[in-house]
């Protein structure tokens, strides 16, 4: 049941988007943050074989089944998280990058992130003035159960604050910002540790960027339908 083959015909020179029929799992092992349970990971492998050629390309990724929810608590103003339906008390740390000269090795990421897990943390917040972290960072957060709060690149440098006063309208090229944001989401979106995208550090991005981010990152209508039309037993990814 966890192995599926589909026939696809692709015109010459074409780019096509293909959605597999959904694959059913009965009680899969869930991915839990550090301290709440195991970080169960499945290996998803996709291959494409072409007639008269053989295997043309392959891709694989560790995937964890987990559902992350959060909302702003009206009483405290704080953000509350649930993972797989269970409330979680966030013990987080701020993160900028592993090395100011960007010598970002797997070995270094592994040591840094394991250290955070050993400190009993369950979340790392990637500050908006630093990096969109790399897949290797997320890989080890998947392995060690660190949820990631990833901010886009908006800080006091781009909001009209500071002395001298910064540009009040964000980066000069808003289209470039959005291109980078979309590409970054595609790079990182399959990691179970990725818990939350945030527009920037301690503020709201310029109106057009904020609006575009919210639109692009909203749930696909297919999954929205579970909310509006599903039975009470159905839950949302």
């Amino acid at each position: 049941e966890h192995l599926q083959t589909q026939h696809v015909s692709i015109p010459a020179g074409a780019h096509v988007q293909y959605t597999f029929p959904k694959i059913f799992f009965y009680k899969p092992n869930l991915w839990w943050p550090n301290g709440m349970g195991k970080q169960s990971l499945y290996n998803v492998e996709i291959t494409v074989d072409v007639n008269d050629f053989g295997e043309s390309d392959s891709w694989n990724h560790h995937f964890g089944f987990r559902k992350v929810e959060s909302h702003i608590d009206s009483a405290t103003g704080g953000r509350l998280f649930k993972v797989n339906g269970r409330p979680i008390f966030i013990r987080g740390g701020n993160w900028i990058l592993s090395d100011g000269l960007l010598r970002l090795s797997r070995k270094r990421y592994k040591a840094d992130i394991k250290f955070h897990a050993d400190m009993n943390f369950n979340m790392m917040r990637c500050w908006g003035g630093g990096l969109a972290e790399r897949p290797e960072f997320y890989h080890f957060c998947d392995i060690y159960g660190l949820l990631v709060w990833q901010e886009f690149w908006i800080t006091g440098d781009v909001d009209g604050r500071g002395d001298p006063v910064s540009n009040p309208d964000g980066p000069l090229d808003h289209d470039l910002f959005m291109f980078c944001a979309r590409d970054t989401v595609k790079l990182l979106r399959n990691h179970p540790s990725l818990a939350l995208w945030v527009g920037g550090n301690e503020q709201v991005p310029p109106k057009d960027i904020n609006s575009a981010l919210k639109t692009d990152l909203q749930l696909h209508p297919y999954f929205e339908s579970f909310i509006h039309h599903g039975s009470s037993e159905e839950e949302l990814s």
Binding site: G13, Y18, T19, F20, V44, W59, F65, I96, L101, L176
Partner: protein, 264 residues
């Protein structure tokens, strides 16, 4: 022997040189006048992935900025000008394709923009620190020999300057670019002199057949208190050939048991 389908990382054998000290163009560097394989000035061994400053530190041309106050001894880009931290990076690689194989040259991130030269062919990589670049180089590769790759990397457009008293984000100019902003210094960090200019993430070749898989998307949905779970998978497929491709598209989900064992 033909290339194996898959990814090959190019992280070894890179050289670097300050652009103002190189007399050749990118076309010349990747055809008639490559740097010597044993680097002589102005060429030096480069740290890729890494920044220009990482390469300079590695070659002991500047002190390590993270020891004591040694960062003060490194020239800031505001004082030197952008050209001082504009660097060539150079490497060679072998890649022999069989019939109907294709190869992309992938940069997972460059800060801030670049010109890529491969065997005398030029490609301009647009601005932006947080974007991937993928170039189909199938028709550019030398079929039987060594391929020469040179990358001219430019710093951010607005590296800014650091006020004498330091402060949060220097003069904030870096925020005009889509780049990391701590590099002008912050309350917890001294300014990074090259503003993290460089090929700062993975460089790789990806060899495929006629059809390539791009950016799969995995999503799960949960029902009945997590008893019933579905995996939803979408992929983009690119047919690089000039014929219709009849494909078998396979997805397999297994449980990792150990390094090389899995159950299906």
């Amino acid at each position: 022997m033909a290339e194996v389908i898959g990814k090959r990382i190019l992280n070894k054998g890179w050289l670097a040189a300050r652009s103002s000290e190189v007399e050749f163009t990118g076309i010349q560097l990747t055809t008639t006048n490559p740097p010597p394989s044993a680097p002589t000035s102005p060429w030096m061994e480069a740290v890729v992935p890494g920044t220009v400053l990482a390469t300079l530190v590695s070659n002991k041309l500047v002190p390590d900025p993270f020891y004591g106050l040694k960062n003060e001894a490194i020239l800031d880009i505001a004082d030197s000008g952008r050209e001082y931290y504009t660097f060539w990076f150079f490497t060679t690689f072998e890649c022999k394709l069989s019939n109907n194989q294709h190869v992309d040259l992938n940069f997972r991130a460059i800060n801030y923009s670049a010109e890529v030269y491969l065997n005398g062919h030029k490609e301009v990589l647009p601005k932006g620190m947080f974007r991937r670049h993928s170039i189909d180089v199938t028709s550019i590769l030398h079929p039987d020999g060594k391929n020469l790759l040179a990358v001219l990397v430019y710093p951010p457009d607005h590296p800014g300057s650091i006020p004498p008293e330091g402060g949060q984000g220097g003069d904030h100019e870096i925020g005009k670019d889509v780049a990391t902003q701590y590099v002008e210094g912050w309350d917890w960090m001294a300014p990074i002199r090259d503003r993290n200019t460089g090929i700062w993430d993975e460089v790789a070749l990806s060899v495929t057949g006629p059809v390539k898989i791009v950016d799969p998307h995995l999503v799960s949905s949960f029902f009945d208190n997590y008893k019933r779970v579905y995996l939803h998978t979408t992929v983009k497929l690119v047919n690089k050939s000039n014929l219709v491709a009849e494909c078998s598209l396979n997805i397999q989900v297994g449980t990792e048991l150990d390094e090389n064992l899995r159950s299906v």
